[in-house]
Amino acid sequence: MANRPARGPKVNAAGLSKADYNGRPTTLCKGCGHNSISSQIITTCYELSIKPWDIIKLSGIGCSSKSPAYFLGQSHGFNALHGRMPSVGTGALMANRQLLAVGVSGDGDSGSIGMGQFKHMMRRNVRMVYIVENNGVYGLTKGQFSATADEGQFLKYAGKNELPPIDLCIEAIVAGAGFVARSFSGDAKQVRTLMKAALSYNGTALLDIISPCVTFNNDESSTKSYPFGKDNELPLHDLTYVPSFEEIEAVEYEPGEMQNVDMHDGSTIQLRKLEEDYDPTDKMGALHRLQWAEQKREFITGLIYYDDKRKPLDEVEMLVDEPLATLPDEKIRPPKEKLDMIMNELL
């Protein structure tokens, strides 16, 4: 299957058309940011020629968490409980370490009820793309403030939000995550590039994607709205993802303008810096920049932090290469001699 079949340009290296990556028709609102993200997931997987059975999709509860039904219809999916996607994902990836995993959550799902699991997944570095479709409200329950809502924001239904927002990128970095990015569902190209890189990452990759809720939180006064995002997005860099099987294009740049991040699977992320001093491999710099952005209501996007020194959980656990799920009986039940050995010790 490695070679493109003869059918023409409409299929990818896996022999699949883009439609093969579709899911069921969306039931989200027209214009919902989450729908754009679903599209980017479809495109990404198509472009990377991922086989549908090699990837799983996971989610919690919310409009965002419903969306896995609307992409990758030929892949297994698990729409779990509110705030609990991380644990379900962790279990699934222990059972089968060969799977790629895309988790989709919401700001309420991850920042409110799911804060604990979110933080501990980052600590464990489970190999998975963790997408937060961040709209600053609880969409599915009709517009209450979530933990990422702007301080002082006013919504007709929910009133005034008196609490400071939780910044999930900061939370992920301080919890130990090594791939932390922020993007905007209106910026399809960046979303796609980050997604590809995230799928190459050897651990938990957080994509905090601002994804406006057009029904409940799309006024320009909200930092989670389309108008605000479109007017204020401040990419830290232009990103290009170069998969392992492609050559890196050599383009001339000013010194210091370009930064390459080499990933464990041989792929590379090329960053053309838009913000001069920004170096995503500098943890303190990243935290500092995020704090600053929050104070100034700046909407920075891009690969905020990158570090690949930590092992993912499956390596820490020193798992055999094959999925635990399908080990043959002989490998999961020790032979009689081993039982006899133990019994002898106890006799």
Binding site: W53, N79, G91, A92, M94, A95, L99, A325, L339, L346
Partner: protein, 613 residues
């Protein structure tokens, strides 16, 4: 300190006294965290190695250091292992409780005590043996942390001398305990022998209690239920284990962690065929179990009451979305934090109905350490066959105390992965996740990673049709829920059958489950000796099958005995057998201590006086 020789003679019996041989209980009272467990196990195991049946129960506080703890050793040539309310032989080494402990001794009992305990009265009707702890420690030259440790060994020597315990067996016991590290063994044996000799020189035995060798423990092992359960899961094909520490389940995970690396490392690659993950809490532990079960692992977690409460939402998801997973609930006393280091059976209803809405879960109810081992396999098999959460309800008494057992046989139950379709089967026959093709209520599933574009389905806790597509239609809901009920009914005859011991012409039946059986067996013998014959059924699982109905049908009265306040099993059995419900009479008692035969006999006689003709 050189290796010593022990005095060759055991304590001579006082003249004219009939010996009481192999039929008494010892209680050792110490403070928590002083390491007395090694000493207590040495005494018990030595007696066991003499061929005499024993059982050891640790009654310990919810605390790390300094609070009272009691170790009960039952010595029973007849093989009874239930707790007895009063022990005849007391080792009083804890000042805080010594006075009360002495009061609790029956007349004619034995009190071996530190001679520096303040305010301990003399009891004329008890054989009092003081042990000069400080003096002996000085003689040994023990300092610092060794003082505590050796203090415990002191009483081992004295007890061995007085009760006639074979010192060679004590040596053997320590050899097993210290895993053949002879140096440790010898150091301790030295202390023991010193005290044995001291006792031989200074004490005159005035009591009748002795042990005498028997041949009743040949081929038997001593083990805790949690160790056995841990070992069982390792042989049951465990692949993903998640946990969060909580007494009394932690030691089961300790066993899993100890056995897995010894037995389940892949020989070729040197890598693990299992993952053990310490979760951040119980919500995460059960979430991981279900994620893993969904992806095809044989996954489990172990917890206790508070953990079960926290897991409820996920258990309901597992029931409804039909995901295999195993939860070992090593029960302690609830509600709430309750008595975290005491035993009980109070989570029957909470586990059976765990989840909101209409849920009903399969429960396994081990009563012996051998069953703990076996259910390591059975629980995974049932979870995968029935694609659901299976609870195993052990308890602190079974899990953390030390029990005798026949050597475990290699599991005869094959590993059963349930109805899982391969890519080829999917391609050939198509796939509808929740369709009841076999009429048993159980659909076929596929695992993520199945290399077919038709193998995927979407798992969720919301309404769906039989093709796993989201649905809010009334008919789809009814179909799903009815099928789940049908599946549960299929389980009735697939779960481990109850164990029945009938007597001809029995006056009534008894139903119980778990560790109450030990008190009940002893009670039945006593009742039989008094002329009352009884039949006994020990449940090993819920839901009940035909055998239980038959048993109840056969008897005029059936007493349902359990360790909780509300008679939870009694409630479930009456609900299951409404037409016979007035036959079933509840004996429910929970005070944190394992049931005694005395209690059972008294309650049965009392209730029979009311209900029997």
């Amino acid at each position: 300190m050189a290796i010593r020789e022990a005095a060759s003679q055991a304590a001579p019996l006082p003249e004219g006294v009939d010996p009481i041989v192999n039929d008494f209980s010892i209680v050792v009272a110490t403070a928590n965290g002083t390491g007395s467990q090694t000493a207590n196990l040495a005494i018990m195991r030595a007696i066991f190695k003499m061929g005499i049946p024993v059982n050891g129960k640790n009654i310990f506080p919810s605390n790390i250091q300094g609070l009272p703890t009691w170790y009960h050793i039952r010595v029973s040539g007849d093989g009874y292992v239930a707790r007895r309310a009063n022990s005849e032989v007391l080792v009083a080494f804890n000042e805080a409780t010594a006075i009360e402990d002495l009061q609790n001794l029956p007349s004619g009992g034995v009190c071996i005590y530190r001679d520096d305990l303040k305010g301990l009265p003399n009891r004329e009707d008890v054989s009092m043996y003081p042990v000069p702890v400080v003096k002996l420690l000085k003689e040994i030259g023990a300092k610092g942390q060794f003082r505590d440790r050796y203090t415990n060994m002191l009483y081992v020597g004295v007890v061995a001398y007085l009760l006639n315990i074979d010192l060679e067996k004590v040596d053997l016991a320590l050899d097993i305990h210290f895993k053949r590290r002879r140096k440790l063994v010898d150091m301790n044996m030295d202390v023991i022998k010193l005290c044995y000799n001291w006792a031989a020189e200074n004490l005159t035995k005035t009591d009748p209690f002795v042990v005498e060798p028997l041949d009743k423990t040949e081929g038997k092992i001593l083990m805790t239920g949690n160790d056995a359960a841990g070992l069982g899961t390792v042989f049951g094909g465990l692949t993903v284990c998640t946990w969060y520490p909580i007494t009394p389940s932690t030691s089961m995970i300790d066993a899993v962690n100890a056995y897995l690396p010894r037995m389940r490392v892949d020989e070729e690659s040197g890598k693990a065929t299992y993952a053990v993950v310490q979760a951040e809490d119980e919500l995460a532990a059960i979430g991981m179990v279900l994620g893993a079960g969904w992806a095809g692992a044989r996954s489990m977690t172990a917890t206790s009451g508070p953990g079960i409460s926290l897991m409820s939402e996920f258990v309901g998801l597992g029931y409804f979305a039909e995901i295999p997973g195993v939860i070992w609930n090593i029960q302690r006393v609830g509600p709430s934090t309750g008595l975290p280091t005491r035993t009980g059976q109070g989570d029957i209803i909470p586990a059976y109905y765990c989840g909101h809405g209409d849920t009903k879960n399969i429960l396994l109810l081990p009563g012996t350490i051998h069953e703990c081992f076996q259910m390591g396999t059975t629980s995974f098999n049932l979870a995968e066959q029935f694609q659901t959460v299976v609870f195993v309800l052990s308890d602190l008494d079974l899990g953390m105390n030390t029990w005798m057992s026949e050597v475990f046989d290699y599991p005869e139950e094959p590993i059963n992965r349930g109805k899982v379709l391969t890519a080829e089967e999917v391609e050939e026959k198509g796939f509808a996740r929740y369709k009841d093709l076999d009429g048993d209520g159980i659909g076929y599933r596929t695992l993520p990673g199945t290399k077919s574009t038709k193998a995927a389905y979407f798992t969720r806790g919301t309404g769906r049709n039989s093709a796993a597509v989201y649905s809010e239609r009334a008919e789809d809901w009814l179909e799903t829920m009815d099928r789940l009920m049908r599946k549960f009914d299929t389980a009735r005859e697939a779960v481990p059958a109850p164990i029945v011991e009938e007597m001809d012409d029995s006056s009534y039946g008894i139903i119980s489950f778990g560790t109450t059986m030990y008190a009940i067996e002893e009670a039945r013998d006593r009742l039989a000796a008094e002329g009352t014959k009884t039949s006994f059924m020990r449940l090993r699982a819920l839901p009940i099958g035909q055998a239980v109905r038959d048993f109840v049908a056969k008897h005029d009265r059936v007493y349902v005995i359990e360790m909780n306040r509300d008679g939870q099993m009694h409630t479930i059995l009456r609900d299951e057998m409404p037409e016979m419900n007035m036959k079933m009479i509840s004996i429910a008692h929970q005070d944190g201590m394992p049931l005694t035969a005395r209690y059972v006999v008294d309650r049965l006689n009392e209730l029979e006086a009311q209900h029997g003709k």
